[in-house]
Symmetry: C2
Subunit: 262 residues, 2 copies
């Protein structure tokens, strides 16, 4: 009996970020996964850091095919990172990609940063769509950052995501310490540290005598746990936090059901 060889379709890897198509981090991401599938890049046309899960409702979006890296299909979008994912699925791919990778972000997205991060929100949007996803961030804000170590872990985790087809809402927040590959001790699966920013707006006067304010803030970690992403990174591990979009506080829910009079 003749065996019919099954045609194995090349997986589609959607890549986006929040630092825009011009950032070295997204270039490093593409280079890291070359050969794993058909790579399609859909990234913001300008920096979108701190955009969180914003979507563009009040005005329309533009999208443009651009030259990027040879052999890689690439588009820019005038909207937010979440818009990029939505547009990619509906108007470019016309199907769900097999996995979605966001980043590599220039700067940390550990702990509470997951809430503000456009990088992580893009990955979360894909995860809502049932696409296994990961956001990657390097603890180096510089545009001259060295992505050598980051690329090793991007590839390792991308390969894993391509295998884990059963976990369709799989969403990982991966942070890579600013270190050379030989300094990094490996990967730690972590929980999100309890930390926040202590804001202090920088108040200035414009040439017309009116006040304006720049957001600045100091990062404060309140969490002494050794199972957190902040701890792992401080100890030269790559931190991997599995993330979810069900924000229900089940513990508080149980407490309220028991003791609140509503």
């Amino acid at each position: 009996m003749a065996k019919v060889k099954k045609q194995i379709e090349e997986p589609i890897i959607l890549i986006t970020n929040d630092d825009s198509i011009g950032a070295p981090g997204i270039r490093a991401m593409v280079e890291a996964v070359v050969g794993l599938g058909r790579i399609v890049v859909v990234a913001p046309d300008k920096p979108q850091s701190g955009m969180g899960h914003a979507i563009t409702i009040g005005h329309p979006l533009r999208m443009q095919k651009v030259n990027f890296i040879e052999g890689v299909e690439a588009y820019t979008c005038s909207g937010t990172p979440v818009d990029c994912v939505k547009l990619a699925v509906d108007k470019i791919l016309h199907r769900k990609p097999n996995i979605c990778l966001s980043g590599v972000n220039h700067g940390a997205n550990h702990s509470i940063n997951v809430i503000y991060s456009g990088t992580m929100s893009a990955a979360m949007e894909a995860s809502i769509e049932g696409i296994p996803s990961a956001g990657f961030s390097l603890l180096d804000y510089s545009m001259e950052a060295d992505f050598t170590a980051a690329k090793i872990y991007v590839r390792q985790i991308a390969e894993l995501l391509l295998l884990k087809k059963k976990d369709k809402h799989l969403l990982l927040n991966v942070n890579i310490p600013m270190a050379t590959p030989d300094m990094i001790k490996g990967i730690k699966i972590c929980r999100q540290a309890y930390a926040k920013y202590q804001e202090e707006f920088d108040e200035r006067k414009d040439p017309h005598g009116k006040n304006y304010y720049w957001l600045t803030g100091e990062f404060i970690n309140f969490d002494k746990g050794k199972d957190t992403d902040v701890w792992a990174l401080a100890n030269n591990y790559v931190s991997v936090v599995p993330v979810q979009f069900d924000l229900t506080n089940y513990e508080l829910k149980a407490k309220m059901e028991k003791s609140w009079k509503l």
Copy 2:
């Protein structure tokens, strides 16, 4: 022995929204809580729906004291709902308010909307700061919506938040059905339903022949549970979902620790 009567300080109630200071919903919110404390309104100067947890990093913010409702201190901010909360704490109140209320939003913020909603993100930002908070949304997008029922529940829940001082990260997502007070059966404590939007971008051509895209989408609820916010609202209950900002997926974390080779 003479009893020293303790000076009871008036609680500060911070009110914000994402529909802007001009929306009827924020006016209804203020009216609902008159008499419960010193009310301070800090709201966006223009609509900020769908802004999620966005913050303004790349350009400075403006803030302006405005006339609003007699006896109520009010300011507009040029930024996002989250910016409003940060500015209010640092530059207006110079302390944390006792509670923060966000809304009343024109339109539902149940289920997955919690992720995209500027209304809920403002409340979450306050919760990160340790301020008991709630976001309120009425299932009526109209600017002529009737807030009669909403006001009853805003006041009831605001009174409760003022009492629950021990739960400093208390954060509630409250949705009110489009119904008269006598039609509403009461409050249900719920979990976030698993639902999402099926996107379909409306593709158009500008007068110069170039494409542009409007985000549109159909809401699809995959969750048949009777303990969800979507179910409660469809059955004329006010839904209250306790929300958290620790996004760690602990179930997946345990599974990964057991079976992933990293």
